[in-house]
Subunit: 366 residues, 2 copies
Amino acid sequence: MAKRVINFYAGPAGLPLPALERAQAELLDFSGTGMSVMEISHRSKEYEAVHNEAIALIKELLSLPPNYHVILIQGGGHLQFGMVPMNLLYKGRGADFICTGTWADKAYKEGKIVAGELARCAASTKDDKFARLPYPGEIKIDPSSVYVHFTSNNTVEGTQFHTWPETGGIPLVCDMSSDFMWKPFDVSPFGIIYAGAQKNLGPSGVTVVIIRDDILQQCLDKELPSYLRYRIHVEKNSLYNTPPTFGIYILRNVLAHNKEIGGLEAIHRRNLRKAELLYACIDRHADFYRPFVKVKEHRSAMNVDFFLPTPEQDDAFVKAAKAAGMVGLKGYRDVGGIRVSMYNAVSVENVETLVAFMEEFVSKQG
Amino acid sequence: MAKRVINFYAGPAGLPLPALERAQAELLDFSGTGMSVMEISHRSKEYEAVHNEAIALIKELLSLPPNYHVILIQGGGHLQFGMVPMNLLYKGRGADFICTGTWADKAYKEGKIVAGELARCAASTKDDKFARLPYPGEIKIDPSSVYVHFTSNNTVEGTQFHTWPETGGIPLVCDMSSDFMWKPFDVSPFGIIYAGAQKNLGPSGVTVVIIRDDILQQCLDKELPSYLRYRIHVEKNSLYNTPPTFGIYILRNVLAHNKEIGGLEAIHRRNLRKAELLYACIDRHADFYRPFVKVKEHRSAMNVDFFLPTPEQDDAFVKAAKAAGMVGLKGYRDVGGIRVSMYNAVSVENVETLVAFMEEFVSKQG
């Protein structure tokens, strides 16, 4: 049996073991075909069943209303940073961007490449090192904007929107890469949601895009290269060109597992318990585990950044954790310190193990 | 042991068994990390070793000169249809397109979306149903073109360029998706080569782009969304954003296997032998196995299209082949009939088995 570590990577990140074991068992002979799922035509009925099941599971787990479409596409969040404004910002149409972290800021900059001054910054917490979210009164939205872009969870800085920004009815466009499906939520304020799979959903190389029909109808069509048009991917059920079949297969395995363990309600309860355990430990030892995010209601349940008193202690912590079978704890290069990422595949027991380690680590320093 | 079929799919297609077995063995514990290669950060030293090995193997197997860069990107040939003109056709710069099949024609149409009339058709064999390539005198290249685009192997129609189009020194840009690395070749006439991995190289979701440095220097930069700029992917060693790590890992496994079995010279000898065997059978029974491509010097060694006397016989052939353990033989929807795709992972023995089946099938009809 393979020796497995506890995986706190920020992404690509850990996947549910049953989803991987299923892939391993049928890697040379998928669904009785005598082929790997990697080796079979994307037009075959065996692959199409997997493809359609993945899309159906996203719709089911999120209880998506019928006016929402699901696209599976390549290129990650980065390609979406370009595609959203390319599809929606034309002929003087503008949008607002809420800049709350490294990736949110990047989405805004890409918007400016496409739309120039029509991509507007509605709020930025950069002057506070993105260590908090903007307060409602700080967000200035242009009423002519066709969408408001934000990042629901800031992977680098460890902040998370627990209530959606108020836009006065303007559709939200959201990069949910690092907290997609961490809980059930009502999609109706959203025009577009996109998420790279490699955090909560599957391997890198697959991006989920959810688009509301009225927004889809506003997208540019013939003027854009085909791959960059949302309309084509919707019309062709994400089979316009060869999709990343193996990645979608793993996504299907993860989603099927998520359904089996009780869906997003059960996952949400687990995620809340994990966050509670870890933040309680940090709060107990706030002089030693110094949180990057000071505003408690802006704390992320997915990514938790903190600093030990010295960078040498940070390094010693990462090293000792690795020796204890826990990996991926080194902070992002721009922030430093420690980052704990606890996506859906991280169990409550994994976090209990980490917290026990943290208690022991702090007691040894005292 | 998994029961494996003989795989003649046009793509995604069969992969070398040792490359898959290696993946299966370490799917839950890659390189002693206690994680799947899907679960580990793309910034980890363990993943970076795989990434760099894949790129180094492409350079080594093709003997790439130092003025060529290798990019691993998402989005398939379709995204390249858009990216090439977006990067190179600006400020009045035009290009020529040689239209020899379904995909070549698509590349031309996407060029027109980006560049309008500056994307020019240098030759088309559409009036002959793309059943042949243009003869040298039929290709009219505008001397001001900054590149000439062509498709080295036409997957749908079964034609293949065995000598490169003459351009008077204008760089070639080539979609090699369906015959990349089927033989060694001199890259010096090429400005850009791109190839979706899912035929000769690995799973879908990874695209190899090879770009000559002088062409890279002409690419647009700040005006394009970042993901669409070749320069960024070169500068960041294809780690600008999260790459499709598992796909690149399988690509590495396939390339390492290709090196082990003797590199592209050995693969070429095998591919020539396979083509010789299959075409000899077709030529022996030209009244029964009626080739789509009539011009022998334009025949593809990768994809071979033929028709039996009636569509009912085509169907019976596909069905009987499947019963005999051979899959993927149904022709492309626009052409019909039978298509045999015999990429690198198809062995000489596989083609011998097919030919024996074809001999038996024709004898039963007689």
